[in-house]
Amino acid sequence: MTFSTELEAKFARLLASYPPGRQRSAMIPMLMFAQDELGCVSAELVNEVARRIGVTPVQVEEVLTYYSMLHRKPLGKAHVQVCTNISCLLTGGAELWEQACSRLGIGHKEVLPDGSISLEEVECIGACSWAPAIQVNYQFHHFVTPEKLDRLLASLRNENPHAV
């Protein structure tokens, strides 16, 4: 498989980050960074990472299934993650989650047919003091209100706010 030069540089750096014989340690970071570039962890990527760190593909699969941020199918271009854990629950996070589902007509871990947006109800994302919080891909949104959420979804769909 070929990757961008930035990703190859990252891989090289990762493989040199761990003690000799411990290249397996690079597995999860490699999968995460590659997923960011490719959109998901494909079977081809599993084989490639396995080859580069010297393990079998099934050893990569075993790890891959454990971690909630690694996924085999592509998510939406914007992956909207709504936290409903305790601090967000107390400040309206559950309502934001309902709102997002009903506006988009999709549910947990589902993707819009055009691939623009996917949704996920997530556990605490470390923004409790600025709750309710949402993450779009890696970007945090704090103190989210129903209006802010509508505007956000509209901009992600590239439509005018009234169409959401």
Binding site: P19, I86, T91, C128, W130
Partner: protein, 438 residues
């Protein structure tokens, strides 16, 4: 830009650079006493470094509150194996959002803390294990690490002393359990985040099966001020058995939520009223989580005269935990709160041991059924008993973390569970036979 206004009641030791222009840059750090503690530590013996940390009464800030100096003293310095520094930056205890700020606004303080730890135990490599969601912090830390190499604070022959140390960031990929130290070490080796049996503890058999000091971000960040200004100065900020300040994350029904650095022993009432600006909407306090959702919940009455310190919390049968304070007002539905908390643990249980995997799953189902209005009287005791049966019987403390808040809620707010029984089930469900919802 800061995420919240500081409070005049804060004592800014670890957060003193927050809000400075370009606070993450090495020049800002160096202009404000940065890497002075490292210079001092390079002249000290390892034993003296550890002694100074012991004098500071610094206790672990990740949740368990174990004395940091003592933990460091367990590392067999003369072992022929390499030694490692591991920073727990997994920060995923619900209610906690402080390590994020320490890394965003002052990454060099963390690097300096790692370096001093490395001198204490003769380590030459260190890893910062950062939760996957905090991707932007990897960029910030990588940049800070690069600056430190460039200026001779990392790498070979640090400041011309012959000491060498390499620092690396390592991303997680979404798993609360990987904050548990032994699961973190498994994950760092490219495996599923399943806990290890202890003993041996990480100090003896840690990263890559070698002696390791593993501490929370905030614990490492406290070390440069301790070495720079002396352990005693730090100890004096707190209470007799717990020194220094604690980054406290106020969230929930509070007027001024935010992260505040408060001295240990700070009164809870003053924290809510004066630092946090009181309960939202002028309402009354109903329940209080002192340090992340794994802690037993306190009632308003139990908060009277309470101070934010490890022993005071232990006396009320709860924990200071990670510093994630969650405020719940008089209108909070405690059944729903208990359910949401259990949904989290059931989702995050790694599945390795049966009491935790099954216990959290069944508690979630029973609480869901109850919250849906389909509960029966026997459920109330069942929830408490099931949770108690998990206590101390799981492979790692995640089981306790799930059981403790649940037991406290069902015991202290039993009347709310009783009240649920008198509610009519939702019409669509009324005809359903009693069943457990998957």
């Amino acid at each position: 830009m800061l995420y919240n206004e500081p409070s005049p009641l804060e004592i800014k030791v670890l957060t003193r650079r927050f809000g400075l222009p370009n606070s993450a840059h090495i020049d800002t750090y160096l202009a404000t006493d940065g890497y002075k503690a490292l210079r001092k530590a390079l002249e000290m013996t390892p034993k003296d470094i550890i002694e100074e940390v012991k004098v500071s009464n610094l206790r672990g800030r990740g949740g368990a509150g174990f004395p940091v100096g003592m933990k460091w003293s367990f590392v067999p310095r003369d072992s022929p194996k390499p030694k490692y520094i591991v920073v727990n930056a997994d920060e995923s205890e619900p209610g906690t959002c402080k390590d994020r700020l320490l890394m965003e606004f002052d990454p060099h303080q963390l690097i300096e803390g790692m370096l001093i730890g490395a001198l204490a135990v003769d380590a030459h490599a260190g890893y910062i294990y950062i939760r996957g969601e905090y991707r932007y912090l990897i960029d910030i830390l990588d940049k800070a690490i690069a600056e430190a190499y460039e200026r001779g604070y990392l790498g070979r022959n640090i400041l011309g002393t012959g000491f060498h140390f390499d620092a690396y960031t390592h991303t997680g990929a979404g798993a609360y359990e990987c904050g548990e130290e032994s699961a973190l070490l498994e994950s760092l080796e490219g495996k599923r985040g399943v806990p290890r049996i202890r003993p041996p503890f990480p100090a003896v058999v840690g990263a890559f099966q070698c002696p390791t000091i593993l501490n929370n971000v905030e614990s490492f960040c406290a070390v440069p001020p301790i070495i720079r200004d002396g352990g005693k100065a730090f100890a004096d900020l707190g209470v007799p058995k717990a020194g220094g300040t604690k980054l406290t994350c106020l969230s929930g029904h509070i007027n001024k939520p935010g992260v505040y650095e408060l001295p240990l022993g700070f009164p809870v009432d003053k924290m809510i009223q004066e630092v946090g600006g009181g309960i939202r909407g002028g309402k009354k306090l109903k329940a209080f989580i002192p340090g992340g959702s794994s802690c037993p919940v306190l009632t308003a009455a139990e908060c009277e005269g309470l101070t934010m310190d490890y022993d005071a919390m232990a006396a009320r049968k709860t924990m200071l935990g990670s510093g994630g304070v969650v405020i719940m007002d008089q209108d909070t539905d405690m059944v729903k709160a208990a359910l949401r908390i259990m949904r989290f643990y059931a989702h995050e249980s790694c599945g390795w041991c049966i009491p935790c995997r099954e216990g959290t799953a069944w508690l979630r189902k029973i609480l869901q059924r109850f919250s849906d209005g389909l509960g029966v009287r026997g459920d109330i005791n069942l929830i408490g008993e099931l949770a108690k049966n998990m206590l101390g019987r799981t492979f790692c403390p995640l089981g306790d973390a799930a059981a403790l808040p649940t037991i406290s809620i069902v015991e202290k707010f039993r009347d709310e569970f009783e009240a649920y029984l008198t509610r009519q089930p939702p019409p669509s469900r009324a005809e359903e036979p009693l069943r457990v919802i998957a």
